[in-house]
């Protein structure tokens, strides 16, 4: 029997991407996509269920579909689009409901994969050059997004302890770049000039969106429990990132930086949340060797991810934005369930 998989946040970038990848896998028998929003990418056989963002109906879905695997891709890591309340509802309450459903006494769930972020390590001048998975952050978290992600990880640790029969994998991704993803980094790198902090040129790591999807698929299929950092090899200074993207840097004041960027944010020119300002000052490095030892191989280095992003944005500049996919419920239902469609192999 093949795997029965539930993906959260099917309407988000990652949920859609992961579902697309799993549809190609003949070992995956059934995919349920849960989401507040409709899928943004064309999906062949994923069943989309609209749910509120805290997943209150999740226990019912798990019981009804008897899924054995949950891929939790719906954690907000970009705080520029979310209010504090949303962060709490989606990240903390959503995960809590998800794990409650997965840990119910008669639950069929045997694998849980959570997509978190290296934001949990923070970024400060007292950091080691490389964070290992078991390392603790140096300062207590000050930003909302970091606090909510740490709370999620706490829930997950408890869940793993209480449910030893479930393989729990936690993936912490560094800054994602690629051809399609939009993050605070891609937005900065597509402005006429990119911001930096005067006197600082931090070392940064990146991971390509392809490797994000591949690593989620990898830990799901090879069943490797534990926490893993996911980041391309190598580090590069921010100035070099800008230069690969053909960007000029405009330095911001190193003192009272938050105050200096606040008016830019209000004008809608540039939204730099505190966790990003810390990154532009001190950078962050994570040790990516544990996942490699578990057998995963990357397709992109940090510099390779930046290059791939730069090429894609040059292409976009020439062609303009291409019309995207639009979800039509009736059409999708027709192809999936109408007796008129021949579905034999």
């Amino acid at each position: 029997m093949g795997r029965r998989v539930l993906i959260t946040g099917i309407g988000s970038f990652w949920g859609g991407r992961v579902a697309q990848a799993l549809e190609q896998d003949p070992d995956v028998e059934m995919i349920v996509g849960l989401g507040v929003d409709e899928p943004q990418v064309p999906l062949e056989r994923t069943e989309y269920v609209r749910a509120d963002q805290s997943y209150s109906i999740l226990a019912r879905i798990v019981r009804a579909t008897q899924v054995d695997t949950i891929l939790h891709t719906f954690l907000i890591v970009d705080s520029t689009h979310a209010t504090g309340r949303q962060l709490h509802e989606v990240n903390v309450i959503g995960t809590m409901n998800l794990l409650a459903a997965a840990g119910a006494p008669d639950s069929s769930v045997r694998t849980v994969v959570v997509k978190s972020s290296t934001l949990v390590y923070g970024s400060s001048y007292q950091d080691p050059a490389w964070f290992k998975e078991e390392a603790n952050r140096v300062h207590s978290p000050k930003t909302r997004v970091e606090r909510s992600l740490l709370e999620v990880e706490d829930y997950l640790r408890d869940f793993a302890e209480d449910n030893p029969h479930v393989v729990v994998s936690l993936l912490r991704f560094s800054n994602v770049l690629g051809t399609d993803i939009e993050t605070p980094f891609t937005k900065m790198l597509q402005l006429p000039v990119a911001p930096s902090i005067l006197g600082f040129d931090p070392l940064l790591q990146f991971v390509h969106e392809v490797d994000v999807v591949r690593s989620i698929e990898y830990v799901m299929t090879s069943q490797v429990p534990g926490a893993y950092n996911v980041s391309g090899d190598g580090k590069l200074p921010w100035s070099e990132v800008a230069s690969i993207c053909g960007q000029r840097l405009v330095p911001l004041s190193p003192v009272l930086t938050g105050l200096a960027v606040a008016p830019l944010g209000m004008l809608g020119l540039l939204d730099l949340p505190p966790e990003l300002l810390a990154l532009l000052r001190y950078g962050r490095g994570v040790d990516n060797r544990r996942l490699k030892q578990a057998g995963f191989s990357y397709r992109y280095t940090s510099a390779g991810a930046v290059e791939s992003f730069a090429e894609a944005s040059r292409l976009r500049k020439t062609l303009g934005d291409q019309p995207g996919y639009r979800y039509e419920r009736d059409v999708e239902n027709f192809f999936r369930h109408s007796p008129a469609v021949l579905r034999e192999v």
């Binding site: 549809e23 028998e29 001048y125 040129d201 070392l203 590069l236 200074p237 390779g304 192999v345």
Partner: protein, 288 residues
């Protein structure tokens, strides 16, 4: 529900084997490595610094052959001068004489300062974190330089010169044990007189959040600006002491605290004795 029909032949024979690791494209534009060092910046700095090292400080080494030519080793030295002049002398000396890179560990605070932090990192400095030291020593088998006295050593006033301060909590011994590398002590004479502190202004350092705010002899001689960067031409003498190896298994979670403190203290005493010995034979601060 049945799987959707396969449209391509390739998907009929799914490739499940792991892709063998190959070298991935790594399109770099600068030569800044993963520690933040830039070879170009370093070679430029070496060219600029070399006359200062040879003509101004006239650094003279004794026992340089005791520094291992390969494998990791932790170099430990006494620390002095308001803006420490000993770190560049030791690093430049070993890098030019032995042609081995030295990674100088410095106070985290460095990293928080604009320009200074980035500059120090490009030239070969690394933040003093046990994880960083372990990685350099054990995994990358490099030479690492630490000053166990830290800012307590450089913040000494002139009347306290060559009196070694407490060696922290012995963290450097623990790192050497865990990394399984020897400790090589280096006694340095001359740094104390290159920028001696006359007195400190605690109110200013507290306001700026820095360890100390010194008023130096250089300030009186050269003025507040030039005096903050110009060293007096004290003669540098450096003596490398016998390496110390520990007969404990590496990579242990923890080591006996009493053993660590004993080893740290014995290294401190040896350095102190050698400093007294070198001062006994020194005829002139400026000519050695």
């Amino acid at each position: 529900m049945a799987a959707s029909k396969t449209t391509t032949g390739g998907a009929l024979v799914p490739i499940r084997t792991r892709i063998p690791p190959e070298t991935l494209p790594n399109p770099r534009r600068s030569d800044v490595d993963e520690w933040g060092r830039s070879e170009r910046a370093r070679s430029l700095a070496r060219r600029v610094y070399d006359p200062l090292y040879r003509r101004w400080f006239r650094a003279e080494w004794e026992g340089l052959e005791k520094i291992p030519v390969d494998g990791g080793a932790l170099l430990v030295a006494n620390h002095a001068a308001a803006i420490p002049s000993d770190a560049p002398v030791i690093m430049h000396g070993i890098e030019t004489e032995l042609e081995r890179p030295v990674y100088g560990l410095a106070e985290h605070l460095f990293k928080a300062l604009p320009f200074v932090g980035t500059g120090w990192s490009r030239l070969g400095g690394v933040a003093a974190h046990p994880e960083n030291a372990y990685r350099l020593l054990r995994e990358q088998r490099q030479l690492v330089l630490v000053f166990p006295e830290g800012a307590k050593g450089t913040g000494k006033t002139y009347d306290e010169r060559y009196q070694l301060r407490r060696f922290g909590r012995g963290g450097f011994v623990e790192i050497a044990m865990r990394a399984g590398v020897p400790i090589v002590p280096i006694a340095v004479v001359g740094a104390e007189e290159s920028m001696p502190i006359l007195f400190k202004v605690p109110a200013v350092s507290k306001a700026l959040g820095i360890p100390y705010f010194p008023v130096t002899a250089n300030h009186l001689l050269f003025g507040p600006l030039l005096g903050s960067v110009a060293y007096l031409p004290a003669k540098f003498k450096l003596r490398v002491l016998d390496p110390i190896s520990f007969d404990v298994p590496p990579e242990q979670e923890r080591y006996s605290k009493s053993r660590i403190m004993d080893e740290a203290e014995s290294i401190r005493v040896r350095l102190q004795e050698n400093l007294y010995d070198m001062l006994r034979t020194r005829r002139s601060v400026w000519f050695g």
